[in-house]
């Protein structure tokens, strides 16, 4: 039998878990210390945000919350590589990318606190809100990318999905459409090895998730998702490619969900402690901090100061969240349609009356 097609999947890493460079040449942005520090600061804030949010949930001050512990490099790397005019289509835990793009931490809290106002956020007004139904957001990103392409705008749509999400039909349909239309879109798989209790090995027989790109006829690249330099590097590559009309990319970021799936989950039911301990050694903050310290760009004093600042900032955000109170009852109706139909006007009035009745 003759061979009619062949494919390769490449892997990118700059910083190993010990904070050592694995390649001689650094991407341009990484030669700029301020830029690296900016990313590191954001990663640190995200971690403080995460810890505090879990605490809020545990003390009954927040609803179910999806932790991003361990994903900081992937998320901040995505955010840092994008332009404000690009459009972001998150799943539900990419706070690092959203904060970078201007979403306020208390807005994220509002969402998990059961308040839609959190989705009317301070980030780019065209960015989508979370997509809880797994994989559905890829279609929105493809559609946005198609809009950008048709209008000749130099904008890119970026969407994120989990490893579990790659089992959904929507995921593949989008990859295929992005290939067929050569869309300016970057699809990112945040492969944290688990979909709630289902390990990657039970989710698919694939050795890599990047290889799923082959089914869409598009490029797939694997990257160390705990390495902020590699993530931003590959994202910049893929964004630039998309922006210059050279088509879509699927990026698989290899990371690990160190936390429970959400605060409603208990991962000890299904996951080996050793695996988690091992992952903790490879998590993203350690290596970039080590690299920055080794290269003299950072020290313990700055670190302590940063953490204090993050904590203070978080306190402010938590206060904003708490001050938001309950949205008015009529807000459930007011944004159903641009022009509210009669039947909904009647229902709104009844609900408001009912709400007043109960105080």
């Amino acid at each position: 039998m003759k061979t009619v097609a062949s494919f390769e999947i490449k892997y990118q890493q700059h910083l190993d878990p010990e904070g050592h460079l694995t390649q001689k040449k650094l991407p341009k942005f990484a030669e700029n210390r301020d830029e690296l520090l900016k990313m590191y600061r954001m990663m640190s804030f995200v971690r403080v945000f995460d810890t505090k949010s879990i605490a809020l949930q545990r003390t009954g001050q927040l609803g179910t919350y999806a932790s991003c512990l361990g994903h900081e490099a992937t998320h901040v790397g995505i955010g840092a590589a994008m332009q404000p005019e690009d459009a972001f289509f998150p799943m539900y835990r990419e706070y690092g990318a959203q904060f970078w793009r201007g979403v306020k931490p208390h807005e994220v809290l509002l969402f998990w606190g059961g308040d839609e106002r959190g989705n009317n956020f301070s980030g780019p007004q065209h960015d989508f809100a979370w997509a809880v139904p797994i994989a559905t957001q890829f279609h929105h990103a493809a559609g946005a990318a198609l809009a950008f392409k048709l209008r000749g705008e130099k904008r890119v749509a970026v969407s994120v999905i989990g490893d579990g999400g790659t089992s959904q039909g929507d995921f593949y349909e989008s990859l295929n459409a992005a290939g067929a239309y050569q869309l300016p879109v970057v699809f990112v798989i945040s492969n944290n090895q688990w979909a709630i209790s289902v390990p990657l090995s039970a989710q698919t027989a694939c050795a890599t998730l990047a290889q799923k790109a082959i089914a869409g006829g598009i490029e797939g690249i694997q990257v160390d998702g705990n390495d902020i330099i590699a993530v931003r590097d590959i994202m910049e590559y893929a964004l630039d490619k998309a922006r210059t009309g050279k088509g879509p990319t699927l990026v698989e970021a290899l990371t690990y969900r160190i936390s429970d799936h959400t605060t409603a989950d208990d991962a000890t039911r299904y996951r080996d402690k050793h695996e988690v301990d091992d992952a903790k050694k490879k998590e993203p903050l350690i290596r970039i901090r080590k690299y920055l310290m080794d290269s003299g760009a950072w020290d313990q004093q700055q670190e302590d100061k940063l953490l204090a600042e993050c904590a203070a900032q978080m306190d402010t955000e938590v206060q904003l969240y708490k001050d938001a109170g309950k949205p008015p009852v009529e807000s459930m109706f007011d944004h159903m349609f641009a022009n509210l139909p009669e039947s909904l006007v009647a229902q709104r009035d009844a609900a408001v009356a009912e709400g007043q009745h109960h105080g």
Binding site: N119, T136, H139, A145, E173, N176, H335, A338, E342, S343
Partner: protein
């Protein structure tokens, strides 16, 4: 003015909006060079180019989902699903996103898209090509569902649907595509959504129907007129949200209501109309509300499709029952 069939009126409405609004794009399976399997998009790609009228890969969830993404970015996608029996993969995107994005973001994003699909039976088509599933969409918050029943209403309502800033599911009765040509002025004038159309006035009984069944309903009304029965015929047109004002006004006048639809009876749109009328106008009712509908079975293959779909005879029986009670 030339007479046009419904499918041509639809093509005209699409062409009008493509010409006047650069945000409008048409997309779907085979809508390009082929002009759609029913020719509803015939000639549009040739006229407006591949950037405005696009074939899609064969994936309905994609068609709906991409339309949502495009719409939220300021375009006005008019997507075609080849037959309403193949619309189900799009249900997730419609209920979980199209109908929710505006309220989810408290107005920041919205979804001015139209999802068109040929719908209903009576054209001798293969399995899954003759479905009536408007009730599924009617039950979805945040979505308008519209079904035209004449070339003029197809033209005007489709224009309204495209211009509306919110998602509209637009179900086109295939059985009417080439029936009953009509003069339709291609002047870009939209008809109002959320409004019934009173097609025939009469004081004895109110008939509410939509889509293709309007024709059996009108025929039944005409036949009964010969016997001196005056039927008021209301075309629901916007199947959801329902314009109850017009219906209630009529029922208050006639005291009798017959609802006619092709879709299965159980939890159909007829149920909602009957329930609401029974709630709001019970004291006006002189007889039980009759529903003449499809049965609670899938549309059978075509040897039996006319045993499934309400015939003029069945509509007349329903009316007589309402009159005699």
């Amino acid at each position: 003015m030339a007479k046009v069939a419904m499918v041509e009126a639809i093509t005209q409405a699409l062409a009008y909006e493509l010409e006047h609004d650069p945000a409008v794009v048409v997309l779907g399976e085979d809508v390009g060079v082929n002009g759609g399997v029913f020719r509803a998009t015939s000639g549009l790609q040739q006229r407006f180019g591949k950037q405005r009228v696009m074939d899609t890969p064969l994936a309905e969830a994609l068609i709906a989902g991409m339309s949502i993404g495009m719409a939220a970015m300021g375009m006005k996608p008019v997507a075609e699903i080849q037959f309403s029996g193949f619309i189900y993969p799009a249900v997730d995107q419609m209920i979980n996103h199209a109908g929710r994005l505006r309220t989810r973001t408290r107005g920041r994003l919205h979804v001015p898209m139209v999802l068109r699909a040929p719908s209903g039976g009576g054209i001798h088509a293969p399995e899954h090509h003759s479905e009536s599933n408007e009730a599924l969409f009617a039950h979805m918050p945040g979505i308008r569902t519209v079904m035209p029943s004449s070339p003029a209403r197809a033209y005007g309502l489709l224009l309204a649907a495209i211009r509306d800033p919110d998602p509209v599911v637009f179900l086109e009765p295939t059985r009417l595509y080439r029936m009953n040509k009509q003069e339709v002025e291609d002047n870009g004038e939209a008809l109002p959504l959320d409004t019934c159309f009173v097609l025939r006035e009469g004081g004895d009984v109110t008939l509410v129907s939509w889509g293709a069944m309007i024709h059996e309903t009108l025929q039944a009304a005409a036949k009964l007129a010969e016997q001196g029965v005056k039927c008021e015929v209301i075309d629901l047109a916007t199947v959801s949200p329902i314009d109850f004002e017009t219906i209630l006004e009529s029922v208050e006048k006639t005291g009798r209501l017959v609802i006619i639809h092709e879709a299965p009876k159980n939890c159909g749109v007829g149920a909602e109309i009957a329930a609401t009328v029974a709630e709001k106008a019970i004291y006006s009712l002189k007889a039980p509300i009759e529903r003449v509908t499809g049965y609670d079975i899938p549309m059978p293959l075509f040897k039996l499709e006319h045993d499934y779909m309400p015939s003029v005879e069945r509509v007349m029986q329903g009316i007589r029952k309402a009159l005699e009670a």
